[in-house]
Each structure stands twice: as C-alpha cells, then as structure tokens.
Symmetry: C2
Subunit: 195 residues, 2 copies
DNA sequence: AATATAATCTATCGTCGCTAGATATTGACT
DNA sequence: AGTCAATATCTAGCGACGATAGATTATATT
C-alpha cells in the first residue's frame, strides 16, 4: 500500500506546513494576523482544506503550543545538563525558562496565554505537556521534600516573572536579580518547609 | 451652565453603563461575548455611540482593567489592614491577591491577559496602575532592603500562582501550600539577599 | 471504460470591528 | 418666536473573519 503511504505522508507534510506557517506568522506579526485565509494562501490550498486537518483555528494554535512544550522541555533539560552542581542547575533552568519565554513570545502565548482546549489535568495530560514540568522537578528535587509543590511554585514564579517582564509591568534590565531571588528561595526552601 | 453640566453628567453615566455592561457580560460569558453590537443593545443606543466614548473595543477592555486595578489595590490594602503583625500581613496580602484573581477571572483577564495599550512604564503609568504595586510594597518592605526587586518578584510569584491555578496547569486544592511557600521565601529573603 | 470514492474548490453564511453619510435634536442669535 | 448652525444619534454598509454547504475535479476499483 505504498500509494496510501505516500498520500498520508503528503498529508502529514501539509499539516506540518500549516503549523509552521501559523507559528512563523504569529512570531513575526502576532497571533491576530494568523487567519485561516492567510494560512490557506501560505500553503497554496483553499480554506476548507485546513478544516480537514484541524477542527478550528484554536486547534492550530494548540498544535503550535504542543511544539512549544516539546521545545521548552528540551531547552530546560539542556540547561540542566550543562550545569555544574545542583544550585547551578537550578539557576540555569530558571534562566533558560525565562529566556525561552522572552525569545519566542508568540510561541509562549500559544502555550500559556491564548485560550486553549489543551488538557492539563494530570491523568489525561499529553506527555509533551508534562515533560517540561518533569525537567523542572529534576533540578528542584535535591532541595526539598514536597517536590511537587515546590516545583509548581518554582514554575509559577518563573512564569510570573516572564509574564510581567514580557508585558512591561516590571522594570526591564532587572530580571537577573529577580531570578536569583527565586532560585535562592528554592535553595532555602528545605529549612523553611518542614512545619 | 447647568445644562451642559447635565449633559456631560449623562454622558459620564452612559459611559459607566458601557463599562459595567462589558464587565458583566465578560464575567458571565467571557470576553469573546463582549461585542460592540451587544453592548449597544445593552445600553439601548446604536453602535456608533460607543465610538464617541471609546476609540475601540480594546479601549473598553482597558477601562474595565483600570477598574480592576483600583479594586485590587483596595483589596490588598484591606487585607494588609486586617493583619496582625508583619508576617500575617504578607500572608493576607498573598491570599487576597490570589483570591482576587480567581474570583473575578474576566476582570483579571482584562488586567493581565488580554492585549492592552495600557502603559506600565514607570513615569507615564496611571496612578491606579501603581497603587496595587505600592500596597504590596508596603507589606514587603519590612522584610528586605531592595524593596522594589522583592516586591516585583513577590508580585510575579503571586501572578504566576494565580495564572497556573486559573488555567488548571497545577493541581487545584493545593494553593494554600504554594502561597505559604512564597510568603516564607519573602520572610527568609533578608538573610539571603545581601550578597 | 464506467463507476464509486476521495480530494479539493467556489461560493456563501452570519458575525465581527468600525465608519461614512444621512437625519434628527438641540442651543444660540436676531 | 423663528432661523440657522452645531451637536447628537441613527441607518446602512465596508471589508475581513471563522466556518460550511454543495458542486467539481481527480483518483482508484471493478
């Protein structure tokens, strides 16, 4: 069935082109410029073809978001691997997260800001969405007992820092200090945590 | 000139009704349900009238956001005032911030999630937008020397916690522990900060 | 070659933010 | 009081959006 194979391969390639085009336009012109018509032009097919790949525009955004979660996890793991010591790993992951969010704003929007139907509730969550969380867990775990709570809090702090920085709600140029503060808090967490 | 007075008062009232309607619809049906036509129906005027009050739909969202910043500042101050001691104040402000974000999701969206032209860069920032920040500063200052950095970081952490909780990205029902962790980090900050 | 199936297109729907131009209402001046 | 300019408001419509129905072309099977 090599013919069907070729067909489904071509279909998959076309789908990739849709997602890639969406991401590229979003990154260069913002998500509001990502329209079905624009994407249809980009891949040189008519609009209804897009709906044979994705149920809605939101599903395309979600596909880009999933890419983002994969890349974030990879970036965090790479940051951890390059570290010299557990404290350094924490710092590098923090910096890596922050840099990721600020260097790919549209991607980060798709992952965390735009409304999405992606499921995050633990059981049904797609592996890609958990992967970044586990990368953070790995560097946090040496510093605490209740790993999950601390990971969630660390993640939230990083997300908040990135978010407020991205939107200009805090002074720019000071992020290194804020990141250091968060990292130091994790290092100190053990002593404060056992109640 | 009591006639002109009455006119401009009626105008102001109508403007308030627009903002109130936008907020009510957003809170009950989400921001995508807030359309110019819907608002026009709500206030019983035609659509162009709205444009004599606001330059665009975004400006209406921004008006709701400004209301939100006022109320957030008031809520945080009230939380601080009700506190028994500096540590308790920190905890109450943290809980207050979190509860604010989760109890008025659409309002919080307008303030922090939806794209807006509101200026946050220090000089030109409207007083309302700074007020909440200063309320946080007040409770943070006893615990650190570099007040501004710590306030920004505390705020970011709270924002991140609220954001991840709102979107179901962290386990629900565990927020009290995470908040306590953040508050404890601030209390410990002084010892860690001077480098 | 004929026919069934799949792939793709054209054309359109209802809605959106927003605006131009017409109309009604108001206030000022003789 | 009556004319006229200015203000307030409306109706109608533009172009673009997400999404879909139904026609049309291409492909595969008998």
């Amino acid at each position: 069935m090599t013919v069907t194979d070729r067909k489904s391969r071509e279909r998959a390639e076309r789908e990739d082109r849709i997602v890639a085009a969406a991401r590229a336009i979003a990154e260069s012109e913002g998500w509001e410029a990502v329209t079905i018509r624009r994407l249809a032009n980009e891949i040189e097919y008519s609009q209804p073809v897009l709906y044979s790949h994705f149920a809605s525009r939101d599903a395309i955004v979600a596909a880009v978001a999933v890419e983002g979660f994969k890349e974030l996890a990879a970036a965090l793991r790479a940051a951890a691997d390059a570290a010299d010591g557990q404290g350094d790993a924490l710092m590098r992951v923090a910096r890596g997260y922050f840099a990721f969010a600020l260097s790919r704003p549209a991607l980060y929007d798709a992952m965390f800001i735009l409304p999405t139907q992606l499921m995050f509730a633990e059981a049904e969550t797609r592996a890609e969405l958990r992967d970044g969380f586990e990368a953070i867990t790995a560097v946090v775990s040496p510093f605490c007992t209740d790993v999950e709570i601390v990971t969630e809090t660390f993640w939230a702090a990083l997300h908040g820092l990135a978010e407020l920085e991205r939107s200009g709600r805090v002074r720019s140029g000071m992020h290194e200090k804020r990141i250091a503060l968060v990292v130091q808090a994790i290092i100190n967490a053990e002593s404060a945590e056992p109640n």
